[in-house]
């Protein structure tokens, strides 16, 4: 059930779905750049901007992120590491002696910025077809010398096609192992060592089958470019986003 996994395209005909993928990609890059070293106000402003786009695009961004728990764990990990390595007054009244207030604040801010980017990526993927991403990436790389834009676009689109397969296999193997009582084993190392080998084996097997299916349907470097139809609405949308990013950074 690959399609039930996080980070999958959600079919629709909203304004966000219909946007030219080049503009959406440019918007995502612009937003990501705006979060670099930004303060909490900018990050929060961008967060609400992303939520606004998610609502217009009817993209269930939060449920997508909720199902990608590994990313949330990653963000928590960043906060903990930052708290541990940053010098400063001890947090929580010294209950955790190695955890500083400054580190906690830094970690929360970094986590918050990454969360905003993650949310924006989820909205982008939910509203943009893989074939459209391929066309947009190829278009952007076309004028760059010594870089084979088609190859970059192909690799990106293949990766986007393979991620749901990996998540699908992960879910299938996890369920099969739960059915055989793996949850009774509390040692996470044991569980990981039982999960990784079959996951790798099945992922490679599925990837092989998928690549055969792609070849059988003439997958190659020169497909028809679809969805590249810029409208005035796309220009207005990107202008608004850039204004939001610049305005927030100036106010920060």
């Amino acid at each position: 059930m690959a399609g039930l996994n996080a980070f999958a395209y959600m079919p629709g005909h909203t304004r966000v779905h219909r946007m030219d993928p080049r503009f959406k990609l440019a918007g995502l890059i612009c937003l990501s750049l705006a979060t670099v070293q930004c303060g909490p106000k900018t990050a929060t402003g961008l967060f609400f901007g992303v939520i606004f786009v998610a609502i217009i695009g009817k993209a269930p961004a939060f449920s997508m992120i909720r199902s990608a728990r590994i990313f949330i764990l990653f963000l928590v990990g960043i906060i903990l590491v930052r708290g541990a390595v940053t010098p400063g007054p001890v947090a929580f009244g010294g209950i955790i002696p190695w955890f500083s207030v400054n580190g906690l604040a830094d970690g929360l801010l970094i986590g918050w910025r990454l969360f905003v980017v993650l949310l924006a990526s989820a909205v982008f993927i939910a509203t943009t077809r893989t074939s459209a991403v391929f066309s947009a990436v190829r278009w952007y790389f076309r004028p760059i010398p010594f870089v084979d834009g088609t190859r970059v676009a192909m690799m990106l689109s293949l990766m986007m096609r393979f991620i749901p397969i990996i998540l699908d296999e992960f879910a299938g193997i996890s369920e099969a192992q739960k059915a055989r009582g793996v949850e009774n084993r509390k040692n996470p190392i044991y569980r990981i060592t039982r999960l990784i080998p079959p996951l790798m084996e099945r992922t490679f097997a599925r990837a092989h089958d998928l690549s055969l299916a792609l070849v059988a349907r003439n997958f190659g470097p020169n497909p028809t470019q679809r969805g590249l139809h810029a409208t005035s609405g796309d220009w207005v949308g990107i202008a608004l986003l850039i204004s939001l990013c610049v305005g927030l950074r100036l106010m920060d």
Binding site: G3, P11, S131, L214, V215, A216, R217, N218, R226
Partner: protein, 251 residues
């Protein structure tokens, strides 16, 4: 006799590791035929199909598709011969049904308008037009098979090969797929079905090829090959054991 659409000429295929997948296989497929390719697991059925689609190339011998060698022009073979895989989950790559059907025509570099036309026509041909915007994972097994067939039709393939199309399908699912096969055959397509279970499709086939250990051991009409087919690991249709004619599963 019309010019064959597919021609196997003394084709052998040796897998890495030295295992012989095909051993001097020769046969021809005329346009419009409905062929069953049967044999037990590991007999070489899928390897034969992959050679038709140029996913595998012969180690020895030659495969011609519409007179063109698959070694010289694999893209041509892939356009003429459309393949529906045993596990259609792996074949469906689009985020929506329409997207998936468009994947092949996009790779042919067709204009966007032509792609849209082909997608609509192909989905209508398999009675899936109303599901164009559905996400493929929501479909039943039979519906996924139909999407895979539509994907092949959209590439305007003249030959459609099915690899174990009835595995994992319930009775209505088998009927759905069978209806499509018969419809496509009536529309002039050449149909080749690889299966170890010939009962479901026997009534519609004009010819049966039997594979065993990489060799083509029988080639003829059902009544010519059925008498000793079980020695090759293929179960005889029940009706033939009783001396009766095989009935269609669509009857």
């Amino acid at each position: 006799m019309p010019k064959p659409v597919i021609e196997f000429m003394e084709v052998s295929h040796i897998f890495p590791g030295g295992i012989r997948g095909l051993d001097k296989v020769s046969f021809q497929v005329a346009p419009g035929e409905f062929i069953i390719l049967c044999g037990k697991n590991g007999s070489g059925k899928t390897t034969v199909l992959r050679h038709m689609n140029a996913l595998s190339l012969p180690t020895e011998g030659e495969v011609l598709v519409s007179g063109v060698s698959t070694k010289k022009n694999p893209a041509h073979a892939r356009q003429v011969v459309g393949m529906v895989f045993a596990d259609v989950r792996n074949q469906i790559v689009g985020e929506t049904v329409a997207d998936d059907v468009a994947f092949g025509p996009e790779n042919l570099g067709l204009p966007e308008q032509e792609i849209n036309h082909r997608v609509t026509k192909s989905l209508e041909a398999v009675s899936m037009g109303h599901m164009a915007e559905r996400r493929p994972y929501l479909l039943s097994g039979g519906e996924k098979q139909r999407v895979a067939v539509a994907g092949v039709l959209a590439m305007d393939s003249r030959v459609i090969v099915f690899d174990e199309p009835f595995s994992n399908l319930d009775y209505p699912g088998v009927q759905q797929v069978l209806i499509q096969m018969v419809k496509l055959h009536k529309a002039g397509k050449t149909i080749i079905v690889a299966t170890h279970d010939i009962e479901k499709v026997a009534a519609h086939a004009s010819r049966v090829l039997v594979m065993d250990q990489g060799r083509l051991v029988r080639d003829g009409a059902l009544d010519q090959v059925v008498h000793d087919i079980e020695q090759y690991g293929v179960r005889r249709p029940c009706a033939t054991l009783l001396g009766r004619e095989v009935n269609s599963w669509l009857a």
